[in-house]
Symmetry: C2
Subunit: 405 residues, 2 copies
């Protein structure tokens, strides 16, 4: 008689954004006349830029003719895209990453959820608190996190690294139990914080010294506006022996509904004789069948001269929103973080409201949807995330509404 994976049953509640969706739908159903503005889930609103649209149409046309039709893609992605990434995202930044160390996928959410699979079940993970829920939840499903304490909202076998205003939202090197797998995300989701290259170098050194692996989520690197903020962990010396990097096209190119991402695993990253590159290649080859050809061509267009110009403008559009939100909330007396090198603004809830209280307050009084900080972990309690991915008009309107509350 079959049994289910009991680890799934340990997961408390359902996935954060599903919960928010349910609350918003319920509110809209009860108040159909209200215009609700979402600065919540982090989905983009601007259409794909012309260079990408052109590449998509062109690839679709290729699929219509036998001579240029493409069936199964190479397991790890098309050369044209891997070469463009290696050149633009790495070589031009002084990082030594070869095209065949890049694994094309259908997005960073899948990669960040699946990457834990190549590690031993009894490895210990460390995460920032607050954190993107996928890292922890997928480790729960794999049975790697021990037992859940509903009171502390923490798992017994996870090392939590609090990130609050007190430490500038930068995690401190673990002092007690040394974790095996360290998830880091900079620019950070949800706090919008960054760390300097020198700070990241400390993590690389720590990982190399202790035999840990860093899973570095750089999904928001396109939003970095300040110098001395690393765009890739491979800017740090020694990262090739301790770090996996995850990248997304969702936010730099608006691919949330197009689906494309990639993972970098340097060939020197080994435990004994076993290269993690080989394990991930085996996983890709066995459980995945490649990103669509037309989507990989769209990804290539991101690195074309026109694509770069158009996307710089698109990122600028969102960063203008970030400034609108940050300045507006500051003027209204809120304590606000992030929004300078990241599309996320992280604010302290007023009047000691909990994060969910503020969510309800903002939804009901301002008809604005944001994301409760506590949904990202206990240290997110008392914080709230707004995203810069709305339209200018809605963002301005939302800030006016918040000011008027």
């Amino acid at each position: 008689m079959y049994q289910v994976n009991e680890n799934y049953l340990k997961l408390p509640g359902s996935y954060l954004f599903s919960n928010i969706g349910k609350k918003v739908r319920a509110y809209k159903n009860a108040n159909p006349e209200k215009e609700v503005i979402s600065l919540g889930i982090g989905d983009v609103t601007q259409p794909l830029v012309p260079a990408i649209i052109k590449a998509l149409h062109s690839a679709v046309d290729e699929m219509a003719v036998a001579e240029t039709f493409r069936g199964y893609a190479p397991d790890l992605g098309y050369e044209f895209l891997r070469n463009a990434i290696a050149e633009n995202d790495y070589k031009q930044r002084g990082c030594q990453i070869a095209a065949d160390e890049i694994f094309i996928s259908d997005g960073a959410k899948c990669d960040s959820g699946n990457i834990q699979e190549i590690f031993a079940k009894d490895n210990t993970i460390a995460v920032c608190d607050p954190v993107y829920p996928v890292y922890v939840d997928t480790n729960v499903m794999a049975g790697r996190t021990g037992t859940y304490d509903a009171k502390t909202e923490q798992w017994s076998d996870v090392v939590y690294m609090p990130c609050t205003a007190a430490n500038g939202f930068a995690p401190e090197l673990p002092k007690g139990k040394i974790p095996d797998i360290i998830y880091l995300c900079f620019p950070n989701n949800p706090t919008g914080a960054t760390i300097t290259k020198a700070q990241l170098q400390e993590w690389v050194d720590f990982a190399n010294k202790n035999g840990a692996v860093i899973i570095y989520d750089a999904a928001y690197e396109a939003y970095i506006s300040e110098a001395d903020v690393p765009h890739s962990i491979y800017e740090c010396e020694g990262a090739r022996t301790c770090a996996i990097e995850l990248r997304s096209f969702s936010k730099n190119a608006g691919f949330t509904g197009v689906r494309l991402g990639f993972t970098v695993i340097p060939k020197e990253l080994k435990r004994g004789e076993t290269a993690l590159h080989a394990l991930w290649a085996r996983r890709h080859g066995t459980k995945y069948n490649g990103a669509p050809y037309i989507v990989q061509r769209a990804g290539e267009a991101v690195y074309s001269p026109e694509g770069k110009v158009q996307l710089k403008e698109q990122v600028g559009y969102y960063m203008q929103n970030a400034k609108t939100i940050k300045d507006g909330l500051s003027a209204a007396g809120y304590t606000v973080f992030g929004g300078v090198n990241a599309p996320y603004i992280w604010l302290q809830t007023p009047d000691k409201m909990t994060s969910w209280e503020f969510f309800d307050f903002l939804l009901e009084k301002g008809n604005i949807v944001g994301t409760p900080g506590s949904g990202f972990g206990p240290s997110g309690e008392g914080y709230f995330r707004l995203t810069a991915f709305g339209t200018h008009e809605n963002t301005l309107k939302a800030i006016e509404r918040i000011k008027a509350l």
Copy 2:
């Protein structure tokens, strides 16, 4: 210090089609003047039909304009596609499957690899022998299969159900150890065999009686040409309490490079109070981010009146190849199976050659690539798979070459 998932290291050799690819590349490099014809990996060759191309272009245009741009898709797929599937693939065949029991994905390979994740690690799987390698390999990676015996090429904790000419390539109900999870694929890859509705009903009854779950891979149902061959397991009474069905758009619509598939989990499929539907929904919501909008619109076009007509013709094109191969090989004295309700022809190797010997013989003497039967399991030894997915011209040429050997 992190450790790797040791289960990955237990996998013998690398994935079948990767191995074939390596051999073919080596041969081509050494013999650049030879024209190699592939009837191997099962990739399609015909371009996407006009109705699908039109839908793709139209969806791309929507992505170019803010008003119609689509970001994150609903976790489980767009309603328009799920409704089209429920209506056409199920309701019109008399199967009771609701749209919200359908989970859209980027292909049946991912689904067939990931579905094991929602089951307990100590569950026992049963597979046909020979079998599509993904079912077993993904269970190996999950640590569910025990130890590998290189001599028998079998795993200690897997129930193998031999399918050979002796039993008409139809697996027999397990008599000894009762498996928990039973993988069935009809029309079968690699043998091209089918079973009748009455035979499939026996499996459904067996599963319900013994508390087993059937994972039914119906990726090739569009190739069924004879009556009394079930297109879906839900044609059988009681399947809603014991069966998950996997479907693909790769072979019925040529989506191998487009990537789209779906999984059906009826809501009555439960262990105790736990619905497998809820577990898979949680997995999708946590580790997956939906199939691309433009691809889901292409999937919808598969069910449009023009799409249906055009795809019937495309499937007919490949089935003409199947007939060419089957008739040609029979005339040449080969013993041949499949090819009537499936795009696969399964032949017995001549002169007691092993499957890999025949692979090398065919590659070197005929410059034709096929798939060694033993790559699908020990009972595939002495067999060889050819696919009908080539062009008419290449298929005819390949058969002439084989006849001349």
